[in-house]
Amino acid sequence: MRKRSKIARWALNIYAGMGMFYLFVPILFIVAFSFNKPRGNYNIVWQSFTFDNWLSPFSERSLTAALWVSLRIGAVSTIVSTILGSLIAIALSRYKFRGSEGINLFLVLPLTTPEIVLGSSLATLFLGQNFINFGFVTIVIAHIMFQVSFVALTVRARIRGFDWTLEQAAQDLGASPWRTFWRVTFPLILPGILAAGLLAFALSIDDFIITFFNAGSTVTFPLQIYGAARVRIPPQINVLASMILFASVAILLVGTISGARRQASMLGSRNTK
């Protein structure tokens, strides 16, 4: 009996391990083929090992230009959507007010609508307004639209346990509401806002379907890859993808470590009291 449950336990662990491996199959492939020296237009068949691609990651002009466009769109849309979304989140968690349930439902709607519907419907709106040219501005508008809900829900989840009586305390001590917000509330909810901003940025950089419908002749990084995939796949795509991967892993690591440290120091200060 004991033995059987032990076997079952290991079987489950192995099954989960295989699941984890499945997640990494294409990633290993992408990183490995960034070191390939391809023959012809497609980087599909393994030829020989080389560092050349890593030494010239930006040699594909159009690819680098597209990445730059994506970064700019991501920066602008993230700033706007993080502000709009955080304001909504603060309203929802700080106040009890008439209509808050309706607002909650309204916020989830864009998330339960398929991207292709969001993208195509926004395009019909722009088509109806004859004076709008598709391009940078329409992409930014589209990205903010789907980021706002994500930011609002993420920030709200992160500040759910926030102790709003701290504001009361600050005001009892004579601080103005404005000062209270910037000196007490804002620093405490900032980590949640930053996390939501990072998520929004990641969503913007990687968005393909909604952008595809609203891009006009502007080419973002995903659109460039989409266009290139039909003609040729240079190994630089793998290099840039690996770089983005490693950079995000680094950010993730720094975030976890500093988060753990902050938690430790907060616990420490609580103990000394």
Partner: protein, 358 residues
């Protein structure tokens, strides 16, 4: 005299400021939808703009003269205003104009003008010509959703209950693959599964090709360009949307409950079925929505991993919209997709209770 009259009025306004705030939010949103979706023609547009400006200015005046109570009641609406108005103009208005175009006709093939004419024939065209694509979208997305549960649940379970101090690292590992671009991941799969790629070669060497043909995973010795490849891609790309909500709900479970069940001589299978599974259902529920909805509307996986015989509704919408410029039929298809997913979500929430999506 004047002040005595003013004070009660001010208090009355102050007490009802929340109604005013909510009303202003609704009126302003409606104005923006009207402007964006083209409810009103030429001459009336300035009127709507005027109403919109009046509402915003009126709110500001109310904040200025309303006193502290009114200000406190109005605060949440002020905070909501910018974001909600953005969504009204760029989410609600577009949905309206999509429905409008889906019932319009265009005078000639290359015309960009549309005339609204209750043209329901766009919908009959959508169903007649693209029924197969609708079917593929829903069947592939449903199978992929089931597969994400089968792969994601055990993995989330092992991380949550057996991860120990490595829990966060394991969870990070799960998320890392999704830091590479969605398109690059999908293209990577297309090279992994390619006819001359590694997977087909391995299957040939192991001798599983025959079995896979029988199971309809392979077709004519091909792994790529099959429904299985498309479903596999969907499963892979949306797995974290299933795994993370399940993990969150498993993580919340008090392990003492399981220990108590074991102390009371419950078998571990029974403890799982009676305690862990019911408590993790909200995670599975949220994951199902978060996986099925994007999967049903996806066209990237079908494009890179499938063949012309495995196209999904997303491919058709994209093709009709961007290549054929046939906006009415494309809009009709998008509208059908939107409405059918909304009703599925509604039925699903009725059956399984309201899931905590956020």
């Amino acid at each position: 005299m004047n002040t005595t009259l003013l004070v009660p009025a001010r208090q009355r306004v102050g007490r009802n400021a929340d109604r005013v705030g909510l009303g202003a939010l609704i009126v302003a949103s409606t104005c923006l939808v009207a402007l964006g979706a083209g409810w009103v023609g030429g001459a009336f547009r300035p009127v709507v703009v005027l109403v919109l400006v009046a509402v915003v200015v009126g709110l500001l005046v109310l904040v200025a003269i309303g006193g502290p109570q009114a200000r406190r009641l109005l605060a949440p609406y002020g905070l909501l205003q910018p974001g909600i108005l953005w969504l009204a103009l760029f989410f609600l208005a577009p949905v309206w104009s999509l429905l409008r175009i889906s019932l319009s006709t265009k005078p000639s093939r290359f015309s960009v003008d549309y005339t609204f004419s209750w043209a329901f024939e766009n919908y009959t065209t959508a169903f007649r010509d693209f029924g197969k694509q609708f079917e593929h979208a829903f069947v592939y997305a449903a199978v992929a959703t089931v597969l994400t549960v089968l792969i994601g649940y055990p993995l989330a379970y092992v991380i949550a209950f057996r991860g120990g101090k490595y829990k966060n690292i394991l969870l990070g590992l799960v998320v890392i693959p999704f830091f590479t671009s969605y398109l690059i991941r999908t293209i990577a799969w297309s090279t992994i599964l390619a006819d001359r790629g590694p997977t087909v070669a391995i299957l040939h060497n192991v001798g599983l090709v025959r079995l896979f043909e029988v199971l309809h995973i392979m077709n004519n010795g091909q792994l790529l360009n099959t429904p299985a490849a498309v479903i596999g891609g969907l499963t892979y790309n949306f797995l974290p949307f299933m795994l993370l909500p399940i993990y969150v709900s498993l993580e919340k479970i008090d392990t003492n409950l399981v220990n108590a069940a074991n102390d009371l001589y419950s078998s571990s299978v029974r403890a799982f079925r009676k305690i862990v599974l019911p408590l993790s259902i909200p995670g599975v529920f949220a994951g199902t929505l978060l996986t099925f909805i994007p999967a049903a509307g996806d066209f990237v996986n079908a494009q890179f991993l499938g063949s012309p015989n495995t196209t999904m509704i997303g491919n058709s919408i994209q093709d009709q919209f961007l290549k054929q410029n046939n906006y009415p039929v494309a809009s009709a298809m998008a509208a059908v997709l939107m409405v059918s997913i909304a009703s599925l979500v509604l039925i699903y929430t009725r059956l399984f209770g309201t899931g905590d999506l956020a």
